[in-house]
């Protein structure tokens, strides 16, 4: 079975194609990664076409899609989700959502509690707390970096923080000695999806719905402004 995975919830556009033979294991067939926060839509579909071509596969060979559902800046996040849903619809294959913070946590392979934080712009971070790389206990949420540790009831340095949020706000978050990975990778997404589809424990598969975490910026208008003077 061929599983296509991608994530556009951060500045990265990451795509991977994995072959999964139930009972026999999983192996990477092709991957493409680019960091270009302003061109997710331009980059993603050609990258998918590229990994398929590299593996000598065609879209009809795909068995499932795994997509990062954020949280992340909306426009890029939607490009990934819309692409995943449209592929699933046209190819009649299942689409599995994975929290993009979970992809970072999974790839870290940590055994002790830690926090994942990514850039939410507007001087805030998206974050979640994990008991280990396999269990999320709090979040995802969005907060100013200075409030994350307080919300978890821990002091600076008590919990390692990984992800690009740790690199951006080391003073407020107290970054881990090794804050990697900074961004989600499609490889981690694919491995996590296959782990769950094969019935093993791990972070959850979600519906392909975006985790926006914020309401749209819009305010109902106040009283009509007068154009006349005085």
């Amino acid at each position: 079975m061929l599983v296509l995975a991608f994530d556009t919830a951060t500045a990265a556009v990451t795509v991977a194609l994995y072959e999964w033979i139930p009972g026999a294991g999983v192996r990477p067939r092709a991957a493409a990664d680019a960091v270009d926060a302003r061109r997710h839509a331009e980059v993603l579909t050609p990258a998918i076409a590229g990994v398929l071509a590299e593996a000598g596969a065609v879209p009809a060979d795909l068995s499932a899609v795994a997509v990062g559902v954020g949280p992340g800046p909306y426009t890029g996040l939607r490009v990934g989700l819309m692409t995943a849903r449209a592929l699933g619809e046209a190819l009649k294959i299942p689409v599995h959502g994975i929290c993009s913070l979970d992809a970072i946590a999974w790839a870290s392979a940590r055994d002790e509690p830690f926090v994942v934080a990514t850039d939410a712009r507007r001087k805030e971070v998206y974050w979640a707390r994990y008991e280990s790389a396999r269990v999320r206990t709090t979040g995802p949420a969005v907060s100013p970096p200075a409030e994350v540790l307080a919300e978890l009831g821990v002091g600076p340095g008590e919990l390692p923080v990984i992800g690009e949020g740790a690199a951006l706000y080391p003073a407020q978050l107290g970054a881990a000695a090794d804050p990697l990975p900074l961004l989600p990778s499609a490889a981690a997404l694919a491995e996590l999806a296959v782990t769950r589809l094969s019935g093993a424990d791990g972070l959850p598969l979600l519906p392909p719905e975006p985790l926006y975490l914020r309401r749209p910026d819009a305010r109902a208008p106040g009283p009509r402004k007068k154009v006349s003077q005085g």
Binding site: M82, A86, E89, D217
Partner: protein
Amino acid sequence: MIRDSEPLVLGIETSCDETGVGVVRGTTLLADAIASSVDEHARFGGVVPEVASRAHLEAMAPTVERALAEAGVAFADVDAIAVTAGPGLAGALLVGVAAAKAYALALGKPLYGVNHLAAHVAVDQLEHGPLPKPCVAMLVSGGHSSLLLVPDVATDVRPLGATVDDAAGEAFDKIARVLGLGFPGGPVIDRMAREGTADAIAFPRGKYDDGTYDFSFSGLKTAVARWVEARERAGEPVPVADVAASFQEAVVDVLTAKALAACRAHGVKDLLVGGGVAANSRLRALAAQRCEAAGVRLRVPRPKLCTDNGAMVAALGAELVASGTVPSELDLPADSALPITTIRL
């Protein structure tokens, strides 16, 4: 008669608040499915881009399914995918572009990223048959007010003029707000105006005699607001129907006068009016009257094809396929300010 030899095109439109998916074969309309988020915007008094973009993501797949079912075709029957690449709201456009690219990749079919305004012209072929070459097209909506010379909608569209400030539909929305009539303003002002007198109040006609094909509606908007405020200050009742009718008359007077001037200047005998404001009953009536007097044939698509929809995108896509235009690449961007001279991006 529908010929199977003509291309079956799926068209996707997400430039504003309508998720539109249409299916055409050649110039025959097979399906026109729409999901609108207008009700979600009403309390904000205008379209909120992020609200529209979120709604497009949720509506896309169900609307595509509905369009295919309505057309009685399957994904595998589709010969090409067309999508609005611009102009429009950047975040909203991107949802449609992402979907179209994924469909094109999954189905192995060509992708055409098309100009929203040219699609408003091409849609008339679904109702009134092939467009005369050339024709003059006037496109008026909440986002656009343009006069175009159209030698060939697939290959050659030339801008003659456009609004220098507000779009005509935007002026309807703003005046509806001044009159406390809610959003969107077009349909409610059209309705109110029928109870009023069009020459009750002499509102200004911006750029009426300036010899260009440009429009300006911002001065009119301010004049109407001042007039209403003066009444309110004096403690007098505002004759809402007369204000609506007189405002509407000022808009459609300028629009139709300039459109016919363009026809005259270019020796063109066919005028097409499209875009959401083309659903306005007074614009349709005055355009018909002035066209008849000038010996110009008038083409106005039915209201459902005038407002944003997917069928118009499919119609232009089919025209591009028929003209042998090279498809777009999979790295197609969305261009919120796509110029009308770029028909296929």
